[in-house]
Every structure is written in structure tokens, then in C-alpha cells.
Symmetry: C2
Amino acid sequence: MSKNCNFIEKLREVGLRPTKQRVKMCEVLYNREKTFHFTINDLVKLLSEKMNQKISLATVYNTVHAFEKKGYLKEISIDSHKSYFDTNTSAHHHFFDEDTHELIDCDESDIDKINIRKNITGKKINSVEVLVRVASDNQTQK
Amino acid sequence: MSKNCNFIEKLREVGLRPTKQRVKMCEVLYNREKTFHFTINDLVKLLSEKMNQKISLATVYNTVHAFEKKGYLKEISIDSHKSYFDTNTSAHHHFFDEDTHELIDCDESDIDKINIRKNITGKKINSVEVLVRVASDNQTQK
DNA sequence: TCAATAGTTTAGAATTATTATAATGTAGAT
DNA sequence: ATCTACATTATAATAATTCTAAACTATTGA
């Protein structure tokens, strides 16, 4: 519970009103050892388990998007019909386990600096991200 | 029209019956200079323009997925609520223009070999793909 | 302290992308 | 020509997400 004050402060810092739903979401998302990868569905389940009062689905969507806009969360594109989010908002890469549909972080230091020789005129690079798809060793490839 | 025979042959080769819908889709997808990136929606529009008879939405989905399974098309994950497909099925990377939502191919030769130092025990790497997000030079970053 | 107000939450409806269903049609083999 | 397995079709169903409009609440400042 001592951590809640931090969340309230942090929410204020980025200009988000610290409502109880938002603070609760912060607890669920950031009171963890490791970074957390999730879909909206995962999060809704977790929240309904860990909360006494109900939180609306629309609020979960709103809040996740508010967090994303303010740099609290990062969206990861892997599967084209589900959004994955990541509490690690720094530039980094991912492994995607095609058996379990799990995302695993991969530090920038785990992959050599990526040198891109092609240029798009008039455009600047916003981000460079690598997705490494893995699967069980003894299985037919996708 | 001379190309249709090729499409019929190619469809047969991978074990797909060359129905008129499939041949028409081949024409629209592969009678091009460059590789083609599209969403189902793009394709439906193109088909309804270029066809005299109607093609069902379900058929477009079925056929795209049949083509994907047989290696005629490749799915690209960028945006988490739309599927993009690519007629270039070889291993390659992409630029994604965040202004126009356009995909641009990037040959493997345009990016130095990617060396991954991290390992997931019991898992083998299926693919390594880079997505480079670009945007207009004089614009606030996403 | 309390009212005003601007931003938030909510339930449910609406929308969008995609998949399933079941009847009809058609390609390829006999 | 006929049969059979596979394809196509319209439509319904589902899933993920967004919209809407009313009720609620955190903050401001009188």
C-alpha cells in the first residue's frame, strides 16, 4: 500500500488524474519484479480477481490507452487481431513464443546494433524493432 | 490474359484448385511490377473494381488464407487490429510509414545480419524480422 | 468548505474485422 | 455425363474495440 502514493504522484506528473481505477491498474501492472506483457483480456481477468469492486471494460480500454499515450505502456504488434502491451516502455526487442503465445523481452544489448542501409527520402526513423519468433525444437515449423 | 495459364499451373502445383475466383485473385495480386502490400479491405475494393462478377467477402478471406498456408502470401504484423499481407514471401524486413500507413519492403541485404545473443532454452528460432517505423521529418514523433 | 467544472467512469449499443454455417455450385476424375 | 470432394456464397455469429450519453468524482478557487 505504501507504493500507492508513488503511483498517485506519477500519474499526476504525466497529467493523468489519479482516480481509484487508475491507481489500481498501476498496482496490478507495476507492482512486479519483471516487466509485464499482457492483452486487454489478461488485464481484465487480473483486475476482476484482485479488485473488490467492479471495473468497466470501457475503463480498462480508456486507461490502457491513456497510459500508452503518456508513455506508461507500450503497444507491441505481433498478432494481428489482439493488442499486446508491455510495461517496459524502453526501446527493446521481443521473442514471441508461438507455442504458448508468450512475449519475452530482449534487451537492446542482446542484439547487435542494427544498421539500416536503406533510406526513405523525407522520412526519419522513429523506431527499429526486432521480433524473433520461436517455437519448440521438436515441432513442425509454422 | 496469357498469364492466367501460369496462375492455373502454379495453383495446381501447390495443391489449390484453380477456381475462377482464385485465378482472378492471382491476377490482381501478382500481375504487378513490385511486390504488393495490402489489407483484406484493400483487396476487396480492388477485386470489386476489376471484376465483372461479384466475389464474396468470405471467399476473399478463405482464399487469402489458403494462399498464405501454401506460401503464396505472407502475413505482416504491424497494426494490431488489421492484417496486412505481402506478396513477397521471402524473408525480408519492412518500413512502415506512420503518416500514410504504407508498408515498404526492405531486403535482407539492406540490413546487416542480425546476431541474437539471447537464447530461449528448448526453442528454435523460426524467423527474425525487423520493423522500422518512419514518419515525416518535420513532424512530432508518435 | 463547498459549488462549479472539467475530466472520468460506466453500461450498453454500435462498429469493425474475422470466422462459422449450411446450402448451392463447380472442377476434375471416372 | 455423372459423381464426389472441394469451393463459393450469403448470412449469422463471434470477438475485439470504440462510441455514447448519463452519472460520477477529483480538482480549483471562491
